[in-house]
Subunit: 357 residues, 4 copies
């Protein structure tokens, strides 16, 4: 249940509401960042009596919607700010959520300082905005290369420093994955955005831990999750007061027997679905979903045409040599062409969209 306060509501008014919340044995989250204070009352499955709140001093409106992903819903945005549309998340000099697609690019796994700096320079030159590089790699087999973060904390920290330095050198915010609670503080010290990988989407304790760093979080959809489930887990982050959430579609488990042409099924209809339901920006990862270098161009174009606010793409100067997922990496030259096409498509689709409204 969402309670929006009037613009002149006092701290006393808010306390009045919170007293009723507590007397009902409920908990609530007070959001003051925006124009209007919004109190989201969180129940325990049972129906909350909205009439207890409507007549309290300073209360403007009580919205008794279903108790699911209300903190990231369009309705919440309307109540808290009077605005519709999605939010924009600013990370250093980069804005995520505008018309122009934001490009996050870099190596799948950081392999060495040299490899990282070389690729960072190349993707910057190609037009990328944010540098990605995996240090703690989630892998299906304990016997596969687990990233430089696997061996010990000092090695992991060294790699994180490289990432920070490469970002600073080439004026790009950096993003890297956090795979477990014990890595959160370390990664938050060096990375501008904390990425939760698809395999960890359901890991609610990790979501809470990254949310508490107050840094922007990129949450990838699990490959076995419906879009509603995905939004339910994003709500775990928002419930900690951190609304700087970027959602990322990266493919779901394929249908049918045996191996098919792509590793996963990229669900691009998730993009308009998320844009309709929430105010969060949504990006697409064509690299992991297809697992095929030769599909990055067409699926990137398709993602932006579907309304994606950005792309996360794996780049390597020598894809065949990459320690992880080389089959899906493209070169910086190819990235440049992807960016050019996506910028044009985005311009065109957004113009049309504005004309439609």
């Amino acid at each position: 249940m969402l309670i929006s306060m009037k613009s002149g509501a006092t701290d006393n008014d808010i306390s009045g509401v919170m007293n009723v919340v507590q007397s009902l044995g409920l908990r609530a989250f007070v959001s003051k960042e925006d124009k209007y204070t919004v109190i989201s009352v969180i129940g325990s499955g049972t129906k909350i009596p909205s009439n207890y709140f409507t007549s309290l001093s300073g209360v403007n409106e009580v919205v008794d919607q279903e108790n699911v992903y209300e903190l990231i819903s369009k309705k919440y945005r309307k109540l808290s700010s009077g605005l519709s549309g999605n939010i924009e998340i600013t990370v250093n000099n980069v804005v995520i959520g505008e018309d122009t697609p934001v490009i996050m690019a870099g190596p799948c796994a950081v392999e060495s300082r040299d490899q990282l700096f070389r690729i960072a320079g190349e993707v910057k030159e190609a037009g990328a905005h944010i540098l990605r590089g995996g240090i703690f790699k989630p892998r299906s087999s304990v016997h596969s290369f687990q990233g430089l973060g696997a061996s010990d904390r000092s090695k992991a920290e060294e790699a994180l420093k490289w990432l920070r330095e490469a970002g600073d050198e080439f004026c790009m915010p950096v993003i890297t994955e956090v795979r477990g609670e014990s890595q959160v503080d370390l990664v938050a010290e060096y990375s501008d955005i904390l990425q939760i990988g698809a395999r960890n989407m359901y890991d609610q304790d990790l979501l809470v831990a990254v949310a508490r760093t107050k840094k922007p979080v990129l949450l990838k959809r699990h490959f076995g999750a419906g879009v509603k489930e995905f939004l339910n887990f994003a709500e775990y982050i928002a419930a900690e007061g951190n609304k700087n959430i970027i959602l990322c579609e990266r493919g779901i488990v394929p249908v049918g027997k045996g191996n098919d042409f792509t590793r996963y099924t990229l669900d691009l209809a998730a993009v308009p679905a998320i844009r309709t339901e929430t105010y969060l920006p949504v990006i697409v990862d064509p690299s992991h979903s297809t697992g095929r270098r030769d599909m990055i161009y067409s699926m990137s174009c398709a993602a932006v045409a579907a309304g994606a606010h950005g792309l996360m793409i794996e780049v390597h100067y020598n894809p065949e040599e990459a320690l992880v997922d080389g089959a899906q990496a493209i070169t910086a030259d190819e990235l440049k062409k992807v960016i050019k096409a996506c910028n044009e498509i985005s311009r065109m689709v957004n113009e049309e969209n504005r004309a439609l409204n």
Copy 2:
């Protein structure tokens, strides 16, 4: 196994090859339509000895590839015509397989002559190329409206005549679905393209029957089928000597529990996969896959950006009133905007694609 004959190969040379085929207890399909005759030898799971053929008179090349969808493969096209890329299928005045996306539009179900003619006029004016309209409707429940074809043959024929007349009136080829073998002859009499719906994709006897009409066939992917399975069933049509096959992606079963935001998951990576593997044109149906009117624009744009040669879209002047699937129908005005955006995206993506090659 594919055997391509030299350009001067005689009928005697072909007979020579066929004699060996028969002596091995195999069957073969001889394709003479193109520049070079190609004989596809069809085994029964066992390995065919290619060396029996290589030295025969008139034989140019023997390609011993896996025995699956070889008649629709790029390799077949190379051998038979020396060409790469996809074929173009011409239906009356419309070419399917060119850069410009072909738009098939019309009502989900033909409800009356008036409804059909009104929508036909509207979609023509909006820029559609081919008129669609369901007469034999596949339905999940025997208790739902089954289309005008349900009641009796004369009623079905009447509706088919309306479709034919509407197509002629507005200069559009027409397409309608054939749901069972017993309808093939009737539908082939009136419709320019025969559509096999997703639920019938696995119905190999029906595929053979429609193939034998020699009319172009639009084959929809079953919602539980991988892309490889889809191509395997398209091969059933090609094996009858009918290569005028248009493939259509229309969404696969969604992942996860319970209902999500779309009826099916539109698998747009199937588009580049099919374009890489086969020479057949591929189109996308955003209506059935999403089941949502408000997603047609974005998913149409995405489909064309992914490389689709066309779209199949359900249109109704009053979607709320439609007897079948009204929730996914758009108006002709909306269709006009979809076509405009898709034409621009197509132009841009194809320019870039040509620059890439």
Copy 3:
């Protein structure tokens, strides 16, 4: 909507109900086979006004349930016969639907008269009740062996005669698959039960055609279908007045990436679900679902423990030599052990079940 008539209801009473049905533009199916006549009124999606019927002469009860699989529902059975539980379907000397699991066994594909007679004798001796043997084989590839029915009608008829003779020789009813409408009459002439394979479950015209033969139909669940969808398609058969339907669970598409240990996922919870929802007997096919000979024993035991009324198992004297699906065939010796174990489990589970009620 179901309307049950009083036990003394006259033909006039029934006509009275039918007149109202027709005046409302609806259709109805009158079932007189059982103790009480039941009229199932079939709408077209719109709500039927039940109050038009309640006060008519001879009407006992009007059940206004959702318009889906009502003809095969427990409620229908209660209304038409006053009974609960499942029906028993008697085919010659065999009863399907009793406690003792019915065993349908035989070769995947009929390969020759000798092969069929040898296997028929062996499975009879092992304790099987019904002889199975595929003549029209549905296959994923046009290039695979399609069964003896593939080549021409006379070859198909010859194989059907062998099946009939083998059944007569060893006193077993026979079952074989019908893959397309054009085969229905031919197969119905020779086979006691008509099987619809998983790939054809959605083929509603075929379902109608087999239903009209009045022979018992075994309907396999499509590997991409939910159980509700499965029941909706069984309703197509019942709507033709043929209630002699045996449902068969044979595995659904597996989850996850790439190949796993079984070909499909056997969904045994479908067994109690079907037994709760309908009065139809339900059997399980452990051969196609697992694709593995070494799992037939354990999955057969599990199926019977879950409440299955029978099993369909592929048997070959030399599995390695079988033309189709040899990897999943067991020998008659192995079948004997499966039957022994399943009989004991069935006895035990049913005793307990009776004690539970």
Copy 4:
């Protein structure tokens, strides 16, 4: 790669092997618990040259199998102990992995000391062997009841003490779920077995953390994971030297559109698959997979018939009142009947199985 040492191999011999391992830049895990020392050499995707090892002093056999779940494979068991079959895991007085199915029962969520003790007494009396009770509950919505562990550490510890005391009072080992790394030490202090829930299966850092406690681990299969993936993640635990792993099948995402009759699809063929591939005991959770009280009996029987070593079942004295998942809880009376039937089926199936071998 697995290297088994001779029975008289010295520490020097082992060091000799390890020196070669290190010189190749690989890591290895030495297992001395069993009859024969086995060294599992863990590569980084590249092929390990087995011939470097075969002639070293003390080396008995080098098995160059694929680098996936080799530490939990049947081959490993053979090399390390000369035994086949599965291991038995003894927890206090209970043995998991014997013929008789082990029953883990208790409330879904611990709600109060009274609730827990009452249910503990009842399930003990009904014949359960191990007491389950959730304190840290993984939930799809942040707005649902998260278990007593949600609020703060002291509340969580209090609930864990109740669980410990209830286990001691009724002579049952206890099992409870660990949802995040930060809870591992706390839970390990009180619980005999650490459970990893389905949602956390992919959380490799959590797997490593629980493995290091040296306590037995029950790992549930993720609902979007193939069985091979499941085994790959179990290997993460074994790679830490902890082989006391109990695998649990609890249902996978259902196929098809919309809601069906069960929450998940229970994949019972996973049981023989796991028993064939590994030496680990495997149990089944019929409660979460079906989500239906009325299916617990039949699916428990089916699970044991399929070869499950045990069951995990949710019990409540008043299922309607349960704070979490009441719809799937059964009463202790019903549990008693389940146990009786499962014991009989197990006896019968195992006798037959022994006769088969």
